[in-house]
Symmetry: C2
Subunit: 283 residues, 2 copies
């Protein structure tokens, strides 16, 4: 869209990565957001530009990123770069007072109840900027995880005697077990169900995925998870399913995070880190 006075100017770093591209496309199509014409990328990226809905976004490799200081600053940066780039990017955002939304994993993160020195969150708190840092931008997944976390904290061992089955399907390229599934298993353990993470059934074969009902065009990008709890005598079954096709859900969450962060900037907040939970609460 055309740049307008009110629209929030957003730089999407991590192009031409898959998630970054979908996020950039959604931002480009949004009425309230302006996609910045240049973006940070990894030093191993040879492309000079990335096409987003016909607009060419100039790609600036990490080693040349000081060039950005001489240009017009974005209001908010979005970061979907490689986990290994997280630490140095956060340093860059903090030093240059660029509020950001971080949607990747990587870097040392805050652990509840511990001294969180030297974490990426602490570096933002020490700075004058605000940021949303979330390992998962998919709102429905974050919400479901939070519901199960709440249950596991409030009603420990409530499902004692139950058994668990966990199946997750992701695109062929994903080698590791889903981090969301592992986190969910932790919560189910706290609810009294013994289950090891290596018992999680991983589906990576496209022919199995088609049989499961995953649409053909989502074979290259999806996350389907099912958690099934059964009582000892088999008379009770509880099942939680979250099926995501494509990457739109990450873009939706990112746009909500940008809008939320912009409110915080306008309210004059400084040195604060928000989570996707804060974005969901909207407060």
């Amino acid at each position: 869209m055309l740049e307008s006075e009110e629209a929030i100017k957003v730089m999407v770093n991590g192009l031409p990565g898959k998630v970054a591209t979908v996020v950039a496309e959604h931002i480009n199509e949004s009425k309230n957001l302006d996609l910045f014409p240049y973006a940070l990328t990894g030093i191993d990226i040879s492309e000079k530009t990335c096409d987003i809905n016909g607009d060419g976004i100039e790609l600036i490799t990490a080693d040349r990123r000081d060039e950005i200081k001489r240009r017009k600053k974005p209001e908010i940066s979005v970061d979907f770069t490689h986990p290994s780039a997280v630490d140095s990017n956060i340093e860059f955002y903090c030093q240059n007072r660029l509020p950001f939304v971080m949607g990747t994993t990587g870097g040392k993160r805050d652990t509840p109840g511990e001294d969180n020195l030297d974490t990426i969150e602490q570096r933002v708190r020490d700075s004058e900027i605000v940021a949303v840092i979330a390992p998962n931008m998919a709102k429905p997944i974050v919400l479901l995880q939070e519901m199960i976390r709440y249950a596991s904290k409030t009603f420990p061992d409530a499902f004692k005697g139950y058994s668990l089955g966990t199946v997750e399907s992701h695109q062929k390229g994903k080698a590791d077990t889903s981090g969301t599934a592992k986190a969910m298993v932790d919560y189910f353990n706290k609810l009294g169900i013994p289950f090891k993470k290596d018992e999680i059934v991983m589906i990576r074969e496209p022919y199995k995925q088609l049989i499961m009902g995953i649409p053909k065009d989502a074979l290259t990008g999806h996350g389907w998870h099912t958690y099934t709890l059964k009582s000892e005598n088999g008379s009770v079954l509880l099942r939680f399913t979250h099926n995501v096709n494509g990457r739109d859900v990450y873009a939706d969450g990112t746009i909500d995070a940008i809008t939320y962060l912009n409110k915080k900037i306008n309210a004059g907040e400084k040195g604060k880190v928000y989570s996707m939970m804060d974005v969901l609460k909207g407060k």
Copy 2:
């Protein structure tokens, strides 16, 4: 089982009703509980005794219930009588200092945030007894409802733009829509999904239930519920399922409630009402 010094003596009122019978059977089989040899029943019941695993339990109609005062008192009463009998039974328990677990609906109940005068809970609080009062004794259902309630309170409108589908299947005899399904719809409404209670799909036809996979012997007693949320563009599906066959789940919850209440009695608590949530928390 044989009466032992340690076992909790429990009277199950509401026999020969279906849920009361299953509860009495489980109590009879439990090591830690003793089933009392007599029980209160409705004035319209003509049977004089009810057979529980070969033991004959004497049935005492409500109009003759003062006879119980002259007998040995149970430590805890369980009430699965008719909703219309709730008020007068609670009066009886309070007057005769009989701690009880109430598993039926009916009677005026506490409403959060209101002056709760004249409710069944208030009558217990005014007495010297303790009680567990819960419209649903099924722990997994109570827990799932509480998770969704928590989400709806913490993240209002988090599923704005989503659509909902709700299907519930119960035995042929159940005329009304499930109260659990209606309560869940209230929570989904608060999460931002417009959906009317009359849009809940009720399945009552045994042939459809067999196709759904409900076991033949559960056709006369089951509750299968599925809530499906879909994002506007269809790329995200969330699904919550709770399938219960038979009535064992109510007996399990009731036994937990009895054990919990017994702890409170031993701790010297007086004039207190607990919910199934308290039982689940175990505190």
